[in-house]
Symmetry: C2
Subunit: 400 residues, 2 copies
């Protein structure tokens, strides 16, 4: 992101520092603090095993208000018992005291290794450090975006400005992904900051809808994490007339928010562990929404198919057979499959195509698999990536 | 298998030859013919996309009778339209004519690449060749076992002899697996031959039960094939009193059949594509059978967990988090997890263990993951293997 392109929402200061939680010495403590309490909403993992940060955030965001978000990477503080819970509360109180805000206006996210206690001395020192370095600047936002990462290769950010009656609204978002990413929940971690004037109830509703169509459509490895959290804070500083459901202004705001979250979702899939390409899998014409979901999940959950993606192999047989076993209503003779825009299967039979040319297309950084069931009107899609030997290396060598 | 150990069931002749269907020149046509019509039963894939061989076998085995099974490897004859159907029928008629048996007593299995027409000249020549080389010998049975393989590294055979009133019964079985192997159906291909005297109805029932507890418990890569078939033929030549449901003789027969199929199932998982170890995943104490199934499938379907298996990494966090998202009823504080016999997680917290020693245990060729939910009495298990870079190579480089 070029500095000149960044529309920083008013009312937030950002920071990110290295506190030594990660052995690599990379940034691992991120903090964003709003000048005043914001309206806020959150979406969380549906995993039944969660860390104390998820429990705390669910509770703290209930009243639709928040003022600060502290993220530590390198340690998920999950499966750490009572001590882990106490440590999480200590962090919230620390932030509250430093900025003179209410403890329940502090949100907390921890991501990284499971089952280890937070290194509280390092973390406290990191909080003291980052608290003194908060900036309402693009550089501050970038430092924040980098300090939330784990095995991600690239920071993931998105930005938008929307003209609304009464004032222009800016949005800034960032996310981390990489591994343990599966659909049907909020993604690993995503943070959206905006200066829009919007009530908590309206914000919660629009955020849930947008997350469902963006972050919940990502699957790197079908494995749902214990820390998935997506948060949005709105400072109201833009001075726009309060956003209401159904209005024209809301349409513009929702479109901008959707574009941003969609961009972050695609960035997460493209930077999946070991990934070399972003593949959008679309299923069309299913009999029911559940059938569409089943078909698209059978495709993105198949390691066999994702290996073919990695080999730039237009292996329609694997795709068609996955649709065959997913349980969706199906007439094989009505099935059509396209890979990277090329029709490879239709009417129950493969189509003659030039496999070398198609394989070249599959070497692009982003392309699409489309499956038309042609038995109804329901569609679904997922963002995924290829399964590489690099994924195996990363995850076979990672130490508990 | 040593020759001296083989109890060959009476009444069958076996063969396997190279017909050039596989580019590698490895054996690719297998045939077993019984001297007289046998009682027979079959279990098939639940995939909605199937090859004509599966359609034909379902039809031919309905009457509980069969006399010959022809298998070609290297070509699945799936998604090949009318021409593929006609070719499959031509093969059945060819076998029937050569051995003067009824066409509907011929069973057919095709395994290999999807979407290519069978090379009928090569296949017909292969059938002529193998028909002249059938032997009622261990060598013949081994040639048969080898000619059904695709990417398998090793032939998979099992053998048993059971003393029953009126005569000893022998069983011989072989299977192929390797890729596109997922639970809840018959496995890729498995053939059991026995000289037991047993009615078709009784055979069908016991075979369905045994397959459900053995082959259906294997998952190499969560991807269900279009050709999965398990067949059993009983020649009745052993002279035992007809096997009846519920009797003591049936108990012995069922135990021997279960042991054999269980052995073949474990061989399939151990020889999964790229596999270096066989992992038995057991879930105990679930609230319902469906909960047990969900938990065990969430574990074996996670590439993240199977990468940890490959790295001999006792990564209980991944296992526990998969159980957390599977949807099963769960009390985190009641959860216990053991890896290779070592307790690593209990009461919601990790246990202190020596990761190096445990990692050494995980380098053994076979070990177990046990998860106790402790909220009910339902158990389930799966045989699976590690996910290696070799799996990715095999499946990224395989050409459509």
């Amino acid at each position: 992101m070029k500095k000149t392109q960044l529309y920083l929402p008013m009312g937030f200061r950002f920071g990110g520092v290295s506190a030594g939680i990660k052995q690599s010495g990379k940034p691992d403590v991120a903090l964003v603090v709003a000048d005043h309490p914001c309206t806020a909403a959150g979406m969380f993992t549906t995993n039944k095993i969660v860390g104390p940060a998820v429990v705390i955030d669910r509770e703290h965001v209930k009243n639709g208000r928040a003022q600060a978000v502290l993220i530590n990477s390198g340690n998920a503080n999950t499966c750490t018992g009572r001590k882990g819970e106490r440590n999480a509360l200590v962090v919230c109180r620390d932030i509250a005291r430093r900025f003179d805000i209410r403890p329940d206006d502090v949100l907390l996210c921890s991501t990284g290794i499971i089952g280890h206690q937070l290194p509280m001395r390092k973390l406290s020192a990191g909080i003291a450090d980052v608290a003194g370095k908060l900036r309402a600047s693009a550089a501050g936002a970038m430092r924040f975006s980098k300090a939330i990462l784990t095995t991600d290769l690239r920071p993931k950010t998105a930005n938008a400005k929307v003209k609304l009656p009464g004032g222009s609204v800016s949005l800034f978002g960032c996310a981390k992904g990489s591994g343990m990413i599966a659909p049907n929940m909020a993604t690993m971690l995503a943070f959206i900051l905006t200066d829009a004037n919007i009530s908590a109830a309206v914000l919660r509703r629009v955020f849930r809808e947008v997350v469902g169509q963006t972050f919940n459509k990502v699957s790197v490895d079908s494995h749902m994490s214990t820390s998935d959290t997506a948060l949005i804070l709105a400072s109201g500083r833009a001075g726009n007339a309060p956003l209401q459901r159904g209005g024209k202004a809301m349409k513009s705001f929702r479109a901008a928010l959707t574009d941003m979250c969609d961009s972050l979702a695609r960035q997460i899939a493209a930077d999946g562990e070991g990934a070399t390409c972003l593949v959008t899998v679309q299923v069309k014409g299913a009999a029911t929404p559940e059938d569409a979901r089943r078909a698209v999940c059978a495709i993105v959950d198949s390691p066999l198919i994702r290996c073919a993606f990695h080999g730039s192999d237009p292996n329609w047989g694997r795709i068609v057979s996955a649709v065959g076993y997913c349980g969706a209503r199906l007439k094989p003779e009505k099935l059509t499959c396209r890979i990277a825009g090329v029709k490879v299967f239709t009417g129950g039979r493969p189509v003659n195509f030039d496999p070398r040319r198609l394989s070249q297309r599959m070497k692009q950084p982003a392309w699409t698999v489309e499956v038309e069931l042609n038995v109804g009107r329901c569609d679904d899609f997922r963002y995924t990536c290829d399964l590489s030997g690099e994924y195996v290396s990363i995850n076979a060598d990672y130490h508990t």
